[in-house]
Amino acid sequence: MRRLGRLALPLGLGFAFLYLPILLMVLFSFNDSRMVTSFTGFSTRWYAALWKNDALTGALFLSLRIAAISATMATILGVLAGFALARFGRFRGRPLFAAVMAAPLVMPEVITGLSLLLLFVAMEQSFGFPAGRGASTIAIAHATFGAAYVAVVVQARLSELDASLEEAAMDLGARPWAVFFQVTLPLAAPAVGAGWLLAFTLSLDDLVVASFVSGPGASTLPMVVFSAVRLGLTPELYALATLLVAAVALALGLAWWLLRPRRA
């Protein structure tokens, strides 16, 4: 701690800035009153209300399904792209490929959303696919920007991996696909897992792109929450936030436990 010295204070304040709003939400989700600002007594009634809110739970399950599908697609695409970027050297067209893979990271969401919607409309007009819009178009859209994130994470991991490991496998008689599945992929597994989780979270969190490319009847959790917030704050939203925080904490704890170093 001595080396941190005067930096400990801004670090602590920074963390307070990041976590106080979340802690306040957790606290007030147990508030007895409908008032969202003054604590009157402990209650779990908002969690019960949340459970009975069919629109919200339905949207949650839809969002989870879309997130799982799109994250899986994004992971497949992103692993291939990250592998190509990290291992193929300077192939022709690499700068363009790298730029296209990285562009979704900084693209304003309104542009991504609008352009994908116009694409889907044009595709439907031209060859009738996708027929209408809903969960599947949202999943495609989310897979597109998710792939960019997975590619970045996987490329970073592969770049720091000793390339002679793959050479050694090939030298020992492993054919290129065997090298990939027996050496490269297992060693990149933490990054692949992290990439999947990142794509999953981004999908679960996305309001703007989903609003553009969704159709009638397919309302994701952020879309439902957004319209609820515009109508006013309720402790129910805090309860939802608390549950999500708990889920993330649980998932991280689990990942921590699974990935803990096992040394004899």
């Binding site: 000793d162 490991l165 090939m170 030298d171 020992l172 050496v183 297992p186 040394r263």
Partner: protein, 382 residues
């Protein structure tokens, strides 16, 4: 000291015109952009050799090794291993295995699975793999450590696992890329003995890349000194050390005093080389590689020279020059004297540490006589 030279009955197949080389490299060339890493390299290596590629960084030694493994494709030239052209053979089908500089042990597999990796790729039966892994573990004296993970091993143990893994498929050719550079000095020396030992027991042909001249000298049957993508000299360690063919090899292997002069005349059994730069003639033994009248460089090893205070009686050797001691470096087992001659030329002379048995030692600013026998003057054919 050369471990290889001390081998019982070690044959020298490269001297026998009837024995075909096991590995033949012809005109091998490889460029990286504008940089020529290998420039038309020709080299033959015989079965059972322990061959060292010695050179500084950027000399092309690693590129040559990686071409042999198939990890780099040459731009031109051929590699013939046991009569078979390797050009179209991908690395995973070559009967060649490599011990990597970083060892490249798979961190997600234990020692036994690392060693068995190559055999599993061939689809060898489980029992065969198990037996071979046990055999390899015994070979590198790592019995009972098969279940360890690479990050639980010491540096020396990792080196042995890497060796065992590369030998497990019984390759025709084993390539070693700076295999001992990660080890500390004592461990490195012990492992050198062990490598030579294992090479003899398995009879495999080894090619080792190193920048450490001592390592190459101790282990190799023959070595090649590489410089800017070419082979500067190929020969046994003794040949290359005693009879360097160029300034580069003379100065790269050990240290050498390089004197410049002109072949003035042939003498009985040798030559006289004179120079306007110095006030003395250099006597050498044997017929010089260049005719009378040509300009040559002469290499003299510091340890072949002798240094005595001027006026001391015991004159020694055919060549004798007088100079002043500018500096003395103490190395423990020997001293290195920097002696400035009259014309300004500086010689390095080393003497074993015999301080206790000689009289007053040579000291700073002493006027000294440096002498050496004619056979120590190597006229470079460069």
């Amino acid at each position: 000291m050369s471990l290889a030279a001390a081998r019982p009955g070690s044959a020298e197949p490269w001297r026998d015109p009837d024995v075909e080389p096991f590995l033949r490299i012809e005109g091998l060339t490889r460029r990286f952009g504008d940089f020529i890493a290998l420039d038309r390299v020709d080299l033959s290596i015989w079965r059972g050799e322990f061959f060292a590629l010695l050179g500084g960084s950027g000399s092309g030694k690693s590129t040559l090794l990686r071409c042999l493994a198939g990890l780099i494709e040459p731009d031109a030239g051929r590699i013939l291993l046991d009569g078979q052209d390797m050009a179209q053979v991908p690395p995973y089908r070559r009967p060649v295995n490599m011990m990597f500089q970083s060892y490249a042990l798979f961190p997600h597999m234990d020692v036994a699975r690392n060693i068995g990796f190559g055999l599993r790729q061939e689809g060898a039966p489980r029992a065969v793999i198990r037996d071979r892994v046990a055999e390899m573990l015994a070979l590198v004296r790592m019995e009972g450590l098969g279940a360890r993970r690479p990050d639980e091993l010491s540096g020396g143990q990792r080196a042995r696992v890497a060796l065992a893994r590369a030998l497990a498929k019984r390759p025709k050719l084993l390539l070693l890329d700076e295999p001992l550079s990660a080890l500390d000095k004592n461990l490195r020396e012990a492992t050198q003995f062990e490598l030579v030992n294992i090479q003899e027991r398995t009879g495999t042909t080894f090619i080792i890349v190193t920048h450490d001249q001592e390592e190459a000298m101790t282990m190799a049957t023959r070595l090649a000194v590489m410089d800017r993508g070419t082979l500067a000299q190929v020969g046994t360690p003794g040949e290359v050390y005693e009879f360097p063919n160029s300034r580069f090899t003379a100065e790269f292997l050990g240290t050498a005093n390089i004197l410049e002069g002109v072949v003035e005349a042939l003498t009985p059994g040798g030559a006289r080389i004179g120079s306007s730069e110095y006030d003395f003639d250099i006597l050498s033994e044997g017929e010089p590689p260049k005719p009378v009248g040509s300009r040559v460089f002469v290499a003299v090893r510091p340890e072949r020279m002798r240094i005595l205070r001027a006026g001391a009686d015991a004159a020694f050797g055919d060549n004798r020059v007088v100079g002043r001691v500018r500096d003395i470096a103490y190395f423990g087992d020997f001293f290195l004297y920097y002696v400035v001659l009259e014309g300004g030329k500086e010689l390095r002379v080393s003497q074993p540490n015999l301080r206790r048995i000689t009289g007053r030692p040579v000291d700073w600013d002493d006027i000294v006589t440096v002498s050496w026998p004619a056979e120590a003057s190597v006229v470079l054919p460069e």
